[in-house]
């Protein structure tokens, strides 16, 4: 199997329609090229895990998908809407994509409930009652309904990250982007967050997850993407990936972390 054929096949979405479509995406920070010719399709309900050494462009890739970073070349299409400089387009895409950050980024001056209802009330223009009902539902989904009245500073890291997931879910997105969601957590709290993510994946959410949790990748991912130096090096199913990697770069990386 030649190198090109591996890439070409594997960057296609597994299902029919593509929820996320990236074509020839380049991104520069000054002189430094953070993303180089990224081609990737993510199908509806698909879970894609992105792995790779630090500085390989994993985070930049998913930050381009909801325009926290502006890509310099190529096309990004999310749920049929092409990312352009038009503010309305950007808002449209951000409504459809939820994002979970490494550092949680909860709003410290608002209670858990206010954190979660902010988006639905301000962006979707729901009334307070409806937004709070949904927020309660989301908190039950991440298994911390009893923390609704607290401030983020009063919660543990794992609880905060679950609130952040609930906040993103409250916008009822079609895609969830996870940017190293467990990297800032104490070891004993990682599982509670991964459990929530696994449940979410099982419910048919389309997800792109940047993570170093290989166990999660193996158990939950439909496909694994390995990135290095701004490029997609190898894409494949978890079995293929962890048992029979093709590229030298991939083998080296896996030997270092497994």
């Amino acid at each position: 199997m030649s190198e090109t054929s591996v890439r070409a096949d594997a960057t296609q979405a597994k299902g029919g329609e593509a929820m996320i479509f990236c074509e020839g995406v380049d991104k520069f920070f000054g002189e430094f090229q953070a993303l180089a010719d990224i081609n990737l399709q993510v199908g509806n309900t698909e879970v894609v895990v992105v792995i790779g050494p630090s500085g390989s462009g994993k985070s930049t890739l998913i930050r381009c998908i909801n325009r926290l970073e502006k890509h310099d070349r190529g096309r990004i299409i999310v749920d049929g809407v092409e990312m352009s400089d038009d503010v309305r387009n950007i808002q449209e895409i951000r409504k459809e994509t939820g994002m979970v950050f490494q550092q949680f980024n909860l709003f410290p001056h608002m209670t858990v409930l206010e954190n979660i209802t902010l988006g639905p009330r301000q962006v979707r223009r729901w009334n307070k009652r409806k937004a709070e009902d949904l927020a309660t539902e989301m908190l039950e989904r991440v298994k911390i309904p009893e923390q609704a009245g607290k401030y983020p500073g009063q919660l543990s890291g794992g609880q905060q990250q679950r609130v952040a997931i609930a906040r993103a879910l409250a916008m009822q997105p079609k895609v969830m982007l996870f940017d190293e969601p467990t990297s800032a957590l104490d070891p004993e709290m990682i599982k509670e967050v991964l459990d929530v993510m696994e449940e979410l994946a099982g419910s048919g959410m389309t997800m792109i997850v940047v993570t170093h949790e290989m166990g999660f990748a193996r158990a939950v991912a439909d496909r694994v993407v390995f990135m290095a130096e701004g490029q997609i090096v190898e894409v494949g199913t978890p079995e293929h990936f962890f048992t029979d990697p093709q590229e030298e770069r991939t083998k080296l990386f896996l030997s270092q972390i497994l």
């Binding site: 909801n66 926290l68 401030y151 952040a164």
Partner: protein
Amino acid sequence: MTAGPIQTRTEEPLPLPEAETPPERRLPPGMWVRENLFNSPLNTVLTIVFGLLIAWVVFRATRFVFVTGRWQVIEQNLTNFMVGRFPRDELYRPWIAIYLAAGAAGVGTALYARTRPPVPWTVTLRRASPALLGLVVILSLSRTWLPAALTVGGFAVGAAGRLLGNRLPERARRLLPLVGLATVLLAYVAFTGFGGVGWDNWGGLLLTLFVAVAGIVLSFPFGVLLALGRRSSFPAVRVICVGYIELIRGVPLITLIFIGALVLGFFLPPGMTRPGLTMRALVAIILFAAAYIAEIVRGGLQSVPKGQTEAAKAIGLSPVKTTMRIVLPQALRNVIPALVGQFISLFKDTSLLGAISLLEILGVSQAVLAQQEFLGQRVQAEALVFASFLYWVACYSMSRASQRLEQRLGVGER
């Protein structure tokens, strides 16, 4: 019985380490004095020297306040200190305004208190103590009973407002901002309406309070806008804001006040009536304070982590809503101490109005020295001490209020 070289079993259980509470060291007063103040020859000397110094200062100060001070200059001019040249047969107007404010404050605090845990009355008393002290001192200097009686009336109106507020339904709380605005407007009408007295005839504490409060209320939003403008993505807006801030900060306030008072007339189109002196001074103070507030707020804006903006964007909040709901609240909370410091500074800067012959507190304290009876009587100290006291009461109250605000907003600290 032979034991190994290392005996691991003991007959009785190992003693637990003592609970590590630091020993209580509460010395009887005599011992405390000996240990802390007279524990070496040097300390003994220092204690005696500074003890004598403090005793002497306290003695002189007390004697000045209660014995030697000739407070007649204040007593005779108390009305001047309060309202300056405000026409004497119109004095019922400030009282109407005070009663309106007292009533509104009663209603407002009653509605507000419901949402918070109850505060014991001793705490309320302690919080209000600087203001109450000021009130008592002012009333004690009055030669008639009328102001005291009217003050008691004011408290009665406040209490009545409180009772009324307690009876209002919960949803009345939404009307609070409206009540506040209405009170300000009505108070203004009480001063100026129906052939009343315009700003330019106000003086003393009234003028100081008016300029300070108006200055704070108006310069704050202006300063926030400047700070936001300085971080704008439009270069033109940025340049204008930076230019304004640096220009104003490069000029002393007194110069701006003089420019407002003396030079402004040249720039206005001919035939246009110049705004009153008070208005021009107020504008100068607002323009000045806004530049400083802008820099304080900019510091606050920079203290909010970038992740906050990103999270707000990621849930689809527009840039305006991101600023209003996420960035500004956190930024302002972080700079409360510096902001209040600026407000206190602004309050005291109103004393510069004296330089353009506006008789605020300090101006009055100087003007009374030129009165026939007090000319050459060496009562400067009394006049200045009283003026300082009035400034101190206001500034100390602001400082304490800021501390409480900080503590309360500290809830949910990250």
